[in-house]
Symmetry: C2
């Protein structure tokens, strides 16, 4: 029975993620999630108290997945720092989820109701942690002389995470899926 429940919850999260990202959070009704997932409304409300609660759970899951992937790359001590930063950029640049705005976090964030402060803060925290991770890698790279001496690590980390987010959006808006890779290769070269 626990297994059945888990499967239904996963199914609802999967269906709602796709609808929220490709059609829009506000444009998606709970009825549509019921119809697409074939999970009853009663069952959905057993797991999630509201559509906003479901969105919050989706963001938690996305954040947890990306945190794991980022931590894994950052700790690959066999790789040079440059290689780890490049791998990190590739991970962030190759979002597998299709969505309205290029990046799932940005897409969900800009659709949040104005009063959804806790969810907004959660997304903000996630990006600050990304900046922290890149900052630490850059510091290590500067120490090991892989990057320019005197490179200011914090603002450079902010620049890198900004470029990834903005590049995902521009790539989507400009219908050009080579933009981000080219821009990030250039950035990586500028750091050397």
């Amino acid at each position: 029975m626990m297994r059945q429940k888990k499967t239904n919850r996963d199914l609802v999260v999967e269906v709602a993620t796709s609808l929220f990202l490709n059609k829009g959070y506000l444009a998606t009704s709970m009825d549509e999630i019921v119809a697409t997932s074939k999970v009853s409304k009663t069952n959905i409300y057993y797991y999630f108290s509201s559509k906003e609660d479901l969105l919050s759970a989706i963001l938690d899951q996305l954040i947890q997945t990306y945190r794991g992937l980022i931590a894994e790359i950052a700790s690959q001590h066999a790789l040079s720092v440059y290689e780890r930063i490049t791998a990190l950029l590739q991970l962030l640049a190759n979002q597998e989820l299709s969505c309205l705005g290029g990046c799932p976090f940005l897409t969900l964030y800009t659709q949040l109701p104005p009063d959804a402060h806790a969810i907004r803060a959660k997304v903000g925290r996630f990006f600050l942690d990304q900046v922290d991770t890149v900052d630490k890698l850059l510091q290590m790279g500067i120490e090991r002389q892989e990057f320019k001496a005197g490179l200011p690590s914090r603002p450079t980390a902010q620049l890198i995470v900004s470029a990834v987010e903005g590049g995902l959006f521009l790539q989507h808006a400009g219908q050009d899926d080579t933009l981000l890779e080219q821009a990030l290769s250039t950035l990586a070269l500028l750091l050397k």
Copy 2:
């Protein structure tokens, strides 16, 4: 009579811009625009055939305003190219309009209905034109030896526009209004 009509149209655009950016496009009803602007629904529908048509007009106006400001900075021949690029970054980084996602274009773009292809293409075109403008400035700066020789101008221009867009979002999500300025100063230094 023409003057009165123009004033009402402007008022509707102004009110709808603020509501779409701060509350959300889908979350705003035409009734709310009527109530806030005090312009009758009949009068609004005289100017705009639908809410989507109103959104399209808002984007046209925002794009026209920014195109003018960008062209003005790009053509200031008394300034060095570096100064013009810095001024351009300042213009784009200091968005006066408050909105859900940091940048008005990004905020409206991610809220567009999936089938709003023409409006989406319009936003895409606007950003490609920004990349073109920065690309031309960079080429000029490389010729004049203000920037690194061999700097690849196109991907660097994509990187700059991406960093501005992503930085606006990160700044909003992280509640840190110094992030973009620091990131962009670092980028400007890396180009030299």
